[in-house]
């Protein structure tokens, strides 16, 4: 194979009306698009600052990643284990805290399986919506619910001190 063809076309980034049909609480003023849609990485990759890999357990190949020391299961426990290994500890508060990085794990209420993780850098919540775009959102509530593609409820919030650069 010759030179790698980088910069493939992104996935189609859906417009605000389409996004609202999927997440009814994402109305104007509650969020801001922060990227184009891409299937390269998911919310878990985004929460771990990796925009080149899709983080998911049990998948084989260079386009996927999951730390080998974490159990190879797509469960709340394994997601918590992963973030614990990154220095996060569980907290109660869902609000943004200056000076702390936070992650919030959403679960499906039917089977308690993890559906999404959002992250905060101490200023605002950020999410990668599956294969869709990254967004900045004012709260966790805007992605909670069971309408359309909403991610269920936030089951676990964790934080770690913000690294100083």
């Amino acid at each position: 194979m010759g030179q790698t063809e980088r910069d493939h076309r992104p996935l189609r980034t859906i417009d605000p009306d389409e996004l609202r049909a999927c997440f009814p609480k994402l109305v104007s003023g509650t969020y801001k698009p922060a990227s184009k849609a891409t299937a390269r990485y998911n919310c878990m990759g985004f929460a771990n600052d990796d925009e080149r890999h899709w983080w998911e357990p049990g998948l084989y190949g260079g386009r996927y990643h999951w730390p080998p020391t974490i159990r190879q299961q797509d469960t709340l426990e394994s997601w918590v284990e992963l973030f614990t290994s990154q220095g996060y500890t569980q907290v109660e508060g869902r609000d943004i805290e200056p000076g702390f990085e936070k992650i919030a794990i959403f679960v499906n209420l039917t089977d308690m399986s993890p559906t999404h993780v959002a992250k905060s850098d101490g200023n605002i919540w950020k999410s990668k919506l599956g294969k869709g775009q990254d967004i900045e959102h004012i709260s966790l509530e805007v992605l909670e619910g069971d309408q359309g593609d909403e991610y269920g409820v936030v089951e676990r919030v964790m934080r770690r001190p913000l690294k100083r650069t």
Binding site: M1, T4, E5, H8, C22, M44, H53, L59, G62, R63
Partner: protein, 174 residues
């Protein structure tokens, strides 16, 4: 044996009744009416249509069934691909995406596909909007040109290059 019609519409068989029935004359009490469509027996002098011209008539389902099958394949592919993309676009699990009914339906379309059509559709889709079509391509072709260490973009490149080398999709200028 062809019957030759007579003016009255009766049929003359050319055989004498006395010979058939042992010398006893047999009379039909009522003449039989037989209508014959002569056009059925007149061979057309028109030359046969050239090979491939029959499909243009458009009435003979046996003649354009291949074309119809291809159209059906393309229609179902785009319907299912659109459904799959819409319903899985915000999922964080590739494993769940690959188990979506529309994805499985697309893999199943291989049985309707002729001349690498399903591979062509998947590769065109992969080029236009790179997505997780890799496993469908592996399932359909039985091949995997992706190296274990290849990331997402390299996986896309490997499949597109595979398609070009096989002549399934066109080479493009870059």
């Amino acid at each position: 044996m062809l019957h030759r019609p007579i003016k009255s519409g009766r049929v003359r068989t050319g055989r004498r009744p006395s010979k058939i029935h042992g010398g006893q004359p047999v009379r039909h009490t009522k003449p039989m009416d037989i209508s014959v469509n002569f056009r059925l027996f007149i061979a057309s002098l028109e030359p046969l249509p050239e090979f491939g011209a029959v499909a243009a008539i458009g009435e003979f389902s046996f003649a354009d069934s291949k074309n119809e099958q291809r159209k059906k394949l393309v229609r179902i592919f785009y319907e299912q691909a659109a459904c799959w993309k819409a319903e899985t676009q915000h999922w964080s699990s590739v494993s769940k995406m690959l188990a979506h009914p529309s994805y499985l339906r697309i893999v199943g379309l291989a049985r309707l596909s002729a001349g690498n059509e399903i591979e062509r559709l998947l590769l065109q889709e992969l080029e236009a909007e790179p997505d997780y079509w890799f496993d469908a391509l592996i399932a359909i072709t039985g091949e995997n040109p992706v190296q274990p260490e290849d990331d997402f973009d390299q996986s896309v490149d490997a499949w597109l290059e595979w398609g070009r080398q096989k002549g399934i999709i066109a080479h493009c200028e870059r």
